[in-house]
Amino acid sequence: MLETITLLISITFMYSAPLIFGALGGVTSERSGVVNIGIEGMMNIGAFVGTAVCFYSGNPWLGFLMAGLAGGLLALLHAVASVTFKADQTISGIALNLIGPGFSLFLCRMFFDGATMSKPIANKLPKIFGNIKTGSTAVKNLNLDITAVLAAALAVILWFVLYKTKWGLRVRAVGEHPAAADSLGISVTKIRYTCVLLSGIFAGFGGGCMTLDIIPQYTPTAISGQGFIALAAVIFGKWTPYGAYGACLLFGFAQALTVVLGGGKFAIPSEILAMLPYILTIIVLILFVGRAVAPKEDGIPYEKGTR
């Protein structure tokens, strides 16, 4: 029994890490007023670059960093489209969801002999207590992945910056009333660019969590919906870092249940469990009807003179 519980905890934290990074990226971008549907694509490119760099360099941390960079580069496209060109942010996000996996697979074939899977890496990201060999399985299960800690740390940092510092105040102002911020000399462009880039970097980290920790390689289905679950978590968590964090843990838990209960005695079909995050989100949306929770100017390009 204890074993099962600790296994559940361990898998929950492991699976939720990529979601948390993706969701925090979503929060960052949307708080500044830019909708980011392209998280899935950014996670995808991050997933590939992360594991590929690790494979060729042997260093998973380098891979992790590069994963973030890759996500950030893709996000740069979104920033240019959304902020400078004032393009439709949903279309741009969808385009990135096509370009991201496209590049991932393209590069994968280039660097891994035409295969659509990368080769497994030898060194994954470590666990927090390193390689423990002794102790019961239950205890060993509590040796969480370091990604869980990183994700939690990012959530705390983001919360602090958003609500306690001047940059957070400005970001939130830009998302709610960019003209007000502009009239006080705050650069709406600079803030939105920064936030969109950060959201790509975080999403890239999320992809890295997947292929540097959960599975040891990149496959075409490594990122299959995590970006959209992250989006759901942003909404579920009402655009706050701690809300998104909690939502991701919940969704990660649902996925963990699939693994732990899947074949066993409780036999809830895995597909039904897989639907859970999405159904829950719709229910939450219905319950919170009429409450304006999204940043007021989310998704609306800012044009001077439109007051």
Binding site: I37, L77, A81, F85, K86, A87, D88, T90, I91, S92, I94, A95, L96, N97, L98, I99, G100, P101, G102, F103, L105, F106, R109, M110, G114, P220, T221, S224, G225, F228, L231, A232, I235, P269, E271, I272, A274, M275, Y278, I279, T281, I282, L285, I286, V289, G290
Partner: protein
């Protein structure tokens, strides 16, 4: 200058410019990876046109995405973003397959029943989005994304149920043959059929080597019908008014919520029709477990974007993208460049379509600049 401005403002211009940029970026990526872009594009086009059966397959591949493109485009005109075309397609495919498996009526009944079932199923799945928007004000992009995944997992669940699962496969049993909509399926394999076709080689190739079906006719018909509904009927007038200015429409007495719901139902129905045509018109006439989206709906998004939301434009955009998707396989087999370059190219085209609002702004500025000299 005025002429340039006028040309720039036409929607087809942005579409063409986006396609050109798509090719440009693809060329750059290919070169950087050490491939010759011209060879690659050559392989692409020969993959589309070189043999009659290729061309036939392009049309077959284009059919579902013309319809899902119409689905998105129609919703677009009423200011709704139907990203849920994928889920509506999956759900309808599931319903059509199950019904087609269990019912075994003569073709003259089976076909219409299955088609209507597909339309209804898609309409229902789209209607859910519509109700959530009309009643609760929830943005359709979010609910559509959720419902896409719910449809996927629901479909997988059903595929794996013992009642429907075909042993030793990843899919269900196929629908009964009375539901097939290919062109003269039994005749073309009969002795008299084969004898006839022997005399016309290209027709023989097309008929025997591909699943030529009525889908394309249905798709073209639907495009024309949707154009008529949108621009010539009072219903379409109402929906476009709601799409362009919801507040004004409400003020003059139009029932906005009902209009939005109707639009989502029609939009979903179109995607459902696409699914019905596919299951009924193409081998293996069943559905399988999906590890990821097959992109019938998402490709429809791209089609609608590049068609600028125009129903008739979806026909051409659908053919273009169908060609890319099908012919793209040839790029890999002929010159070894990864066929994902096509995905990158399509993604880039959509990206530039997103940017193309800039083009009409430039056009406005050119026109104004002219007027100040007048």
């Amino acid at each position: 200058m005025q002429l340039t401005a006028k040309i720039l403002k036409k929607p087809i211009t942005s579409a063409l410019i986006s396609v050109v940029f798509g090719f440009l970026v693809a060329a750059v990526v290919l070169s950087a990876a050490g491939y010759n872009p011209w060879q690659a594009f050559g392989a692409l086009f020969s993959g589309m046109f070189a043999k009659p059966k290729y061309f036939s397959n392009v049309i077959i591949k284009a059919t579902p995405i013309i319809l899902t493109g119409l689905s998105v485009a129609f919703a677009f005109k009423t200011s709704l973003f139907n990203i849920g075309a994928e889920g509506q397609y999956i759900f309808a495919a599931m319903v059509v397959t199950l019904l087609g498996m269990k019912l075994n009526m003569p073709a003259v009944l089976q076909i219409p029943v299955l088609v209507l079932a597909g339309i209804a199923a898609g309409g229902i799945w789209g209607g859910i989005v519509g109700i959530l928007k009309a009643k609760y004000g929830i943005h359709e992009v979010i609910t559509s994304i959720m419902l896409n995944w719910i449809a996927l997992y629901l479909s997988n669940y059903v595929v794996n149920l013992q009642a429907f699962h075909q042993p030793n496969s990843t899919g269900t049993y196929p629908i009964n043959t009375s539901g097939y909509v290919m062109l003269l399926p039994t005749w073309k394999y009969s002795d008299s059929g084969k004898a006839f076709l022997k005399r016309i080689p290209w027709l023989k190739e097309v008929m025997l080597k591909t699943d030529v079906n009525f889908g394309i006719l249905v798709a073209v018909l639907m495009a024309v019908l949707m154009w008529f509904v949108l621009y010539r009927t009072t219903k379409g007038f109402e929906m476009r008014a709601v799409g362009l200015n919801r507040d004004a429409a409400e003020f003059v007495g139009i029932n906005v919520n009902r209009s939005l719901l109707e639009s989502m139902v029609i939009s979903g129905a179109l995607s459902g029709l696409a699914a019905a045509m596919s299951v009924m018109g193409m081998a293996p006439h069943n559905i399988s477990t999906l590890a990821a989206f097959e992109n019938n709906g998402f490709n429809g998004l791209s089609v609608a974007f590049i068609a600028g939301g125009s129903p008739v434009g979806c026909i051409f955009a659908g053919l273009l993208f169908g060609g890319f998707l099908y012919g793209g396989k040839n790029v890999q087999s002929e010159i070894g460049a990864p066929s994902e370059i096509i995905d990158i190219m399509i993604g880039t085209i959509v990206f530039f379509v997103a940017l193309s609002t800039v083009i009409s702004k430039i056009a406005d500025r050119l026109a104004k600049g002219d007027a100040s000299h007048a």
